[in-house]
Subunit: 304 residues, 2 copies
Amino acid sequence: MSLLTVGSVAFDALETPFGKTDKIIGGAATYITLSASYFTPNNNLVAVVGDDFPTEMIDLLKNHGVNTEGLEIRKGEKTFFWSGKYHNDMNSRDTLEVQLNVMEHFDPQIPAAYQDCKYLMLGNTAPAIQRMVLERMTSRPKLVMLDTMNFWMDIAMDDLKAVLPMIDVLTINDEEARLLSGDYSLRRAAKTIMAMGPKTLIIKKGEHGALLFQGHQMFFCPALPLEEVFDPTGAGDTFAGGFIGYLAKTDNISFDNMKRAIVYGSAMASFCVEKFGSERIVGLTQEEIKARVQEFVLLATFDV
Amino acid sequence: MSLLTVGSVAFDALETPFGKTDKIIGGAATYITLSASYFTPNNNLVAVVGDDFPTEMIDLLKNHGVNTEGLEIRKGEKTFFWSGKYHNDMNSRDTLEVQLNVMEHFDPQIPAAYQDCKYLMLGNTAPAIQRMVLERMTSRPKLVMLDTMNFWMDIAMDDLKAVLPMIDVLTINDEEARLLSGDYSLRRAAKTIMAMGPKTLIIKKGEHGALLFQGHQMFFCPALPLEEVFDPTGAGDTFAGGFIGYLAKTDNISFDNMKRAIVYGSAMASFCVEKFGSERIVGLTQEEIKARVQEFVLLATFDV
């Protein structure tokens, strides 16, 4: 089934204990669509870049089957830029620089050819823009998933609370779940957040895995312990892309299928952190993904 | 099969955000034997207390089928005492007071009736004492498991490294695994630590679950997300008691059975944190344990 992803396409400059990069392709929608491309061939992007964005980077997306008709290239403007530096434990990072550039006035236009998309992924951006996208869809998608972050909870909580009743799946990390709910217990936090609107909640815990909540049901998928985590940038978006890509592929939004989707998303994220930026999730094979998912099966399966 | 547990039996005074206790029964061997009592009827204890230790507390252990022949009561001396205070997130605590008392000269004697024990649990205590216990066994148990902590890595690393090649299963937490191996990656840390002796390693991650390593095999069991964590004291020991109790009950030390044992241990630990001290793991029913294990099945099971 068709997937529409709306979010940032950006330049990133990264520094980890293992090295640093110049400007490389980044942005939530980049990771989401690349990751989803391994699952669904009908993969549509709405984003904005400046005319400094290299054609090769757009070709990279196209080569992954991403429909870039909705990628606006704004003349005379610059692409969103973020640079960050990870600490030694890879669990915390400092933002060194943010240049909003074209993202400051992001006005997402949905091409007519995208209007029938059944799956909608609202990548991390201002909640008011996420809501605008929803309102610009002529028919409501079968499943709407939204990613957000603490930044928006700090400066646009009302906007965020206004969009939450309009979506189906919210994905945030554990810190953000605690911030949004005001509760330390993730199980109680999940109840509080689901009462704000989304019937399904995914709490990402980074190296500690991910929790899926829906009503009284709960599922946990571990992260794969890796010998080396090289660069965590984009792991959450790659996870989200694998998750919704798998749902779109199977067109099955049952809880059992969402459990499978979480495993596929976690497998994709485990690749992402193995190299800088999106390097590792470009050019994966279906065999590699299948083998990685089997590592999760071995890791998590028991019988009692 | 028969289990022998050697470790501390103590008084604890606890303070959590939910309240505080007077002196209650504590100590690693207390939690281990109570937890193991739900699995194996042949449950033997070696420990030392002072004559201030109330008979009712010894009766509590006896009522759980714990053989206390090896519990030395030292006249005119006082029982080991620890008091601690947990921070709001329950993940960190301050030790308020430690009185070693009888533990300062713990000289574990193994009753003749214990000598044929097939499963040996060396609860957290000085590595030199743990080694002494092993040397005092007339025949080598089928499986020897050892728990230790960062404290011993700081002050008795050589003693610890001397005992590691003599044991089968080591259980430590993630911080301690990083300290012992000098490596942040738990997967690499596990390799390094297994090269020090133990063929099997369990890394406890508290609310983030537990990892089991053996050779190239790896298994992860989540912790059950709870609405309320009331008091984490003894959770690690309760986990260890459930794990080795299950192994002793089934007398099967295959990797697949250890996976099951980890789930049972995690289920026992999930009870432990629901009330102060050992309150919740006293008087559990087999039905409660079975139902809790089923919650783990629901939490962690998926098919791809």
